[in-house]
């Protein structure tokens, strides 16, 4: 037993928490769009990809410092989110949800192809080497700690924004009844636009932190897109705390499953857990029992 409960187990658990931070950060914006206002952005991870390219060009090509470039990248993706809503989602708001899915699926391929043509197929890298934190016999990645902190702060900010502000309340209300909100004096078009820009900004925030850990290429979204959707669903649509918890549960299963068995089994177990939970708690991990 002592062979199992060693420092490496602790390291795997901590790494699971840090991976959870990355996944939670990714799930944050999608939860707002997909979970709260019930609009499907299947191309969410591709918006993150565009944000990563934005960071690359600003830092590597135009020589901006990382912390100066980051707000611009967030604004860029926020703008893309708003544009996506105006051009693709708004005309389809009253159409069956499958139409949104297909349309944003088309945007996914457009963005991948656009990135291939505009930026090329080369893998790109910011070339920033973050320091490593050594704690006892464990080594922790600063870039992941940053992502973890950003996810935590982002989750709290979005939570309070949704609960304590007029626009947040309107966003939550609009998801319950699109038609009635207009009759109550709410400018639904404006609310959708703000929410889309906010979702895009959160994707931009994720992009700023992912570029510290991952290579940038037109297909980087393939690694994150599906798992992000699963986390949002597992956490309960629109439930930010649930999404946060789901990200860490998922990440720990991947990390510990990968430590005790083959790495692939970690993912198999995580996806199996998702399927089982869909039977047991279809409304999400933290859903109240009705």
């Amino acid at each position: 037993m002592t062979d199992i409960f060693d420092i490496y187990l602790l390291e795997a658990m901590v790494n699971g928490i840090l991976l959870g931070g990355v996944l939670a950060l990714l799930a944050l914006g999608l939860n707002l769009i997909f979970g709260v206002i019930d609009v499907t952005w299947i191309c969410y991870a591709e918006l993150v990809m565009i944000g990563m390219y934005g960071m690359y060009y600003m830092v590597q090509v135009f020589g901006l410092p990382y912390y100066v470039a980051a707000p611009f990248a967030i604004l860029l993706v926020a703008g893309l989110g708003a544009l996506l809503h105006l051009l693709v989602i708004a005309p389809l708001l009253t159409a069956p949800p499958i139409n949104q899915l297909l349309a944003t699926g088309g945007v996914l391929f457009v963005l991948q192809s656009f990135a291939t043509v505009a930026f090329g197929i080369d893998f790109r890298n910011l070339g920033i080497r973050m320091p490593v934190l050594k704690l006892f016999e464990m080594h922790l990645s600063y870039s992941r700690l940053l992502a973890f902190a950003a996810a935590l702060i982002g989750m709290l900010l979005v939570y309070f924004f949704m609960k304590r502000t007029y626009i947040g309340t309107a966003i939550r209300a609009i998801s319950q009844d699109r038609q009635i909100m207009a009759l109550m004096g709410v400018d639904t078009r404006r609310i959708y636009l703000i929410t889309s820009a906010l979702g895009g900004a959160l994707a931009g925030l994720a992009a700023c932190l992912l570029v510290l850990q991952y290579d940038i290429h037109p297909f980087v979204g393939l690694s994150f897109g599906p798992i992000t959707f699963l986390i949002v669903v597992l956490g309960g649509l629109g439930n930010f705390v649930g999404g946060f918890v789901a990200a860490f549960v998922f990440a720990e299963i991947i990390s510990l499953g990968g430590l005790f068995s083959d790495l692939e089994w970690g993912y198999v177990l995580a996806f199996a857990f998702f399927i089982v939970m869909m039977f047991i708690r279809p409304a999400g991990l933290l859903a109240r029992r009705s």
């Binding site: 297909f219 990390s255 692939e264």
Partner: protein, 427 residues
């Protein structure tokens, strides 16, 4: 996911495939051979080496576009497999049925080769492509995946005591690989080589190349404490693994990569910086590193031409990737050895003529730009495989790559173990 299944294979294998049922007589009347060329120009494999192979093949085919081979024009039709096996199959069908190509050449990923070959055609590098298939119209001039794994182990076994100070039985080795056909095949060669050398294999594990996190694998490596890591992967997963290895404090004496992502030095350097210094890579030799003194004298000018054309296509590249030369050399073998013989001796470019001509190719060592000779197995377990091909072990030292194994091709002594002070050094 395509990449997940894709065992990338390096190497520009070429498949000379004659396709049954083609309008051979019509083609003959036009006196041209139409060659379908399939590589990945988009998707993750493109940047992992496939696009470089495409460039190498295209340079060679372009150089023949204005010439004729025994009265036949050479016409190439290019297709993008998009890093997806299903697209590779569809494009192969399209080229054969609609474009009416006489043969197919290319494929970077074994994950594409295996299903395509199983249907009719083929090519590539994983042993599984040819193993026990007994294909008649498929030929692979370059080394197979398990040979990569074997030579890597052979190299370390021969340096274990002298450079690493350990008897092979005491040497702890880890074999990790992406879980597609290529990675699995190379790892099979690694395991066979480790068994032969008597190494202590402390970890063997595959992973999906698109996995967003490899920290659990790094933790397992730390726990296993290998002296040498044998790794087969693509470019994004290689940089992710090694970046996480640095962040988690993984230490070792040497790392041996096996082509694909490890063959594209520029990208490794961009992603890992100086950490890549003193890493080893197994690949067919770069045509620019091959020993020209023992080479057929007509080949060095061709190598020079390929280099000049590559520099025009990709200016400013510090180390020309071996991928370019693989595809160029394989295409050159077809255009100079197989095609003229098929036309002259067997009367055309139909499948049987190409097959007979391919089986008669008999080039000794030094007969190709890659240094090795060519003689294809006609039948048996590895029918279509070049029995004279071999990869080499190179080492990246201070932005230069040098062949360090086998001794017959070596340009310098290997630096082993990693010098003290290196990021991953366990000294």
């Amino acid at each position: 996911m395509p990449v997940r299944k894709a065992a990338r294979v390096l190497g520009g294998l070429m498949a000379t495939v004659a396709v049954l049922g083609m309008a051979a007589s019509a083609q003959a009347q036009e006196k041209k051979i139409k060659i379908g060329v399939i590589y990945d120009l988009t998707g993750p494999l493109a940047g992992g080496g496939s696009e470089l192979q495409y460039t190498g093949a295209k340079i060679m085919l372009d150089s023949y576009a204005k010439k004729e081979v025994e009265g036949y024009k050479v016409e190439a039709v290019y297709a993008d497999a998009q890093s997806k096996p299903d697209v590779a199959i569809n494009e192969a069908i399209r080229l054969i049925e609609q474009e009416k190509v006489d043969m197919l050449l290319g494929f970077f990923s074994s994950a594409q080769c295996v299903p395509v070959a199983a249907r009719w055609i083929t090519t590539c590098i994983s042993s599984a492509v040819l193993d026990n298939k007994n294909f008649k119209y498929i030929f692979r001039p370059q080394a197979s995946g398990d040979q990569f794994g074997l030579i890597a182990m052979d190299f370390i076994a021969n340096n274990s005591k002298e450079k690493l100070g350990k008897e092979p039985k005491d040497l702890r080795v880890a074999i990790i690989h992406e879980d597609g056909a290529y990675g699995v095949d190379v790892a099979k060669g690694n395991v066979a080589g480790a068994k032969k050398a008597g190494f202590n294999v402390v970890l063997k594990e595959g992973y999906a190349a698109t996995a967003p996190d490899l920290s659990a694998l790094v933790t397992k490596l730390k726990r296993a404490q290998p002296d040498v890591i044998f790794h087969t992967g693509y470019n994004p997963d290689i940089t992710l693994l090694l970046r996480q290895a640095r962040e988690q404090g993984l230490k070792f004496a040497a790392l041996v990569g096996h082509g694909a992502g490890y063959g594209v030095y520029e990208k490794l350097k961009e992603g890992l910086g100086g950490d890549v210094n003193h890493f080893f890579n197994v690949d067919p030799i770069s045509i620019w590193l091959a020993n020209q003194k023992t080479m057929d004298p007509k080949l060095p000018p061709v190598i020079k031409m390929v280099g000049e054309e590559f520099d025009k296509a990709k200016p400013g590249v510090a180390i020309r990737s071996a991928h370019v030369g693989m595809a160029a050399s394989n295409t050159y073998v077809f255009l100079t050895e197989v095609l003229p013989r098929a036309i002259k001796k067997y009367g055309g470019v139909d499948p049987e003529a190409l097959r007979k001509a391919a089986l008669e190719v008999d080039l000794p060592e030094g007969g190709t730009m890659l240094g090795f000779g060519v003689k294809f197995h006609g039948d048996g377990q590895m029918a279509g495989q070049n029995e004279r091909s071999f990869p080499v072990v190179i080492q990246y030292i201070d932005d230069k790559s040098s062949v360090v194994w086998p001794k017959s091709q070596a340009q310098r002594e290997a630096v082993l173990p990693l010098p003290a002070g290196s990021t991953y050094s366990n000294k």
